[in-house]
Symmetry: C2
Subunit: 417 residues, 2 copies
Amino acid sequence: MNYNELTNERKQELLKQELARYEEFKAMDLKLDMSRGKPSKEQLDLSMGIFDVLNSSSSLKGKQDYRNYGINDGIPEIKAIFTELLGITDDEIIVSGNASLVLMYDTIQRAMQFGVLGGEPWNKQGKIKWLCPVPGYDRHFAVTELFGIEMINVPMKDDGPDMDMIEELVKDPSVKGIWCVPKYSNPMGIIYSDEVVRRFAALKPAAKDFRIMWDNAYMVHALYGQDKMLDIFAEAKKYGNEDIVYMFGSTSKISFAGAGIAFIAGSKRNMDSLRKLINIQSIGPDKVSQYAHALFFKNADGIYAQMEKHAEILRPKFDAVLEILDEELGDTGIAKWNKPRGGYFISCFLKKGTAKRTVQLAKEAGVVFTGAGATYPYKNDPDDSNLRIAPTLPPIDELRTAMKIFCCAAKIAALEK
Amino acid sequence: MNYNELTNERKQELLKQELARYEEFKAMDLKLDMSRGKPSKEQLDLSMGIFDVLNSSSSLKGKQDYRNYGINDGIPEIKAIFTELLGITDDEIIVSGNASLVLMYDTIQRAMQFGVLGGEPWNKQGKIKWLCPVPGYDRHFAVTELFGIEMINVPMKDDGPDMDMIEELVKDPSVKGIWCVPKYSNPMGIIYSDEVVRRFAALKPAAKDFRIMWDNAYMVHALYGQDKMLDIFAEAKKYGNEDIVYMFGSTSKISFAGAGIAFIAGSKRNMDSLRKLINIQSIGPDKVSQYAHALFFKNADGIYAQMEKHAEILRPKFDAVLEILDEELGDTGIAKWNKPRGGYFISCFLKKGTAKRTVQLAKEAGVVFTGAGATYPYKNDPDDSNLRIAPTLPPIDELRTAMKIFCCAAKIAALEK
């Protein structure tokens, strides 16, 4: 039944029912964490073979002895895998440490301190601004917030961020960049359409030092077979606009979260300018870990095969969440959610003004969800509506229970209004 | 014979002899690299057991599953080893990625951007200055140069940098820090005396945001048994001055160069303030590599035992260099050098104005040494005298040949004058 069409009396009745159910959940004394997009134990187990590719008798001599200093932008064997996945050349990538977030943070810090391709450091340009498709990734927003960059919300549509709005906003030369998770976006699971990608590739911002932070965190993280997506870099090259985009990715959710291999990719001009600075900052990334990854995955096909195994583990979890949402909230009119074809999240829009209350209720019943507002800059969801559900970590039974509590909490919050 | 007491005629005669020898070296068509302080293959082989401590059946579950996200300042098992070595608590250390250079660079970048403990960002304080004991480590100087920090040379004495000069210079509030390699200093191999350490620990610079960058790169890298050294952090605590020092180190030359584990340590106040920023920059270091290191080394004794094995490999190399220097240059009066008890270098002061020429001559005979001037800020050795010899990488035969060429080149350069 649609909650928006109920009499007040009926609402009170339902609220009473849901509160009774809620008390039963509370009595279960649960302690579940649904807050972060972490891979599950079974997923991590898929990559345990990484520990068998090297042993004390192994030779680690490739282009040089990988146990020693040197090679600051990644060993050829790991570059080969990423360049195959991305369709780029060795010059167009820097393969680095274990975390793409560090690469993103460092890239912005470098722009703040040293400027972009000879431009004035962002630190010296007064107030600068940043475009943030919303809902989006909390850790992206935390980085731009830390640097005091003013964040502007750009609504997400079904096929990516509102490009009309973006094309208008970039006429302001103080707008220096945008966060994008183009494939299976965090948290909505949206795949940017060809048109959106093309408009990004052709973007001509007033600021020459404007950069698209293309965080391809889920580039191969499909649930139902690899979805095609237009290649922004190849498109940008057609417009002579290839400097506009920095691309990021990692194996964090392919091999090990936090012990994977991350990269930044883009035009040779962009990469060369970063290499110069990275050569001062570092004597080189952990080539041993890069080499182990290269030996384990072998090539792009090795990555795709691994992702199929991840998908087999994840599909039932996503399906369970969607099933419960459908069952519990499907006809209530108080919630909308996406059905992602990949990525790590399901994004749910609840009745306006009830997201915080829902998270609070769930928490009091022992289930921690990502905080309301986290998917917006400054943790401020103007509608107090969006919540991010992370189905990957918990075992499926816990997940079901957690989602029932989520739905119960959402209903209570809506009925209380 | 002392070159400074020779007649011109005798000098010409000797020059002719050395030039003839030089031509013989050239005819050998060598290609040797003595330029960087890299461990040798045999040294790297000492840690191959790291690849056996984990395999596909291992559990990586410690405080949590180390294959997953989380724990931003290092796993307890690796902290335990470093805190035992340093005599500090868990709160006083952040164990990070593979390179202490990155930690040093990032620490300075953070001070530039965000200030130190609530102080004004260095970027906003106009011209700032830095003290650089010379000769010193080229990569340190490259970092401060990149940030446009004015570097001031401070001469090294036999027991550390000139403390009278430092105590005078820090009265200038624009002086924000100093680079130190306190044990087996790079390149002189000097161990800072107790008095020097104490004066550092008690230092009261005009700038509250002054920091000592205590790069303990060779803290356990002894050649002839572990030398005691006063603990600056414990001393600084006595003066209520513990915020003044950031300590750095890594296992780069204990396990693998570039695939080791690095840390920054210091007061809880300093570390907490860094943790806040690091939590925005990163989701965590490579805990898998940290765990493998912890399993392999077990504890501080495991590290000491490993360093004894390194020393066995390195002692003959250092001895060979010193022997040849003695033999060839001992009585010439054109060179002085140190006899280090640890570390990675032997530092040689040649006749003024001949270091560049010596390196050039050696290069033309097929042996690359670290560039003249590299041991000084801005690559500018005002005396053109100091050269850094790195004996660790080459096999001992090559090392002997390279050193003979070095000496021959130094003699020619001196006799040409």
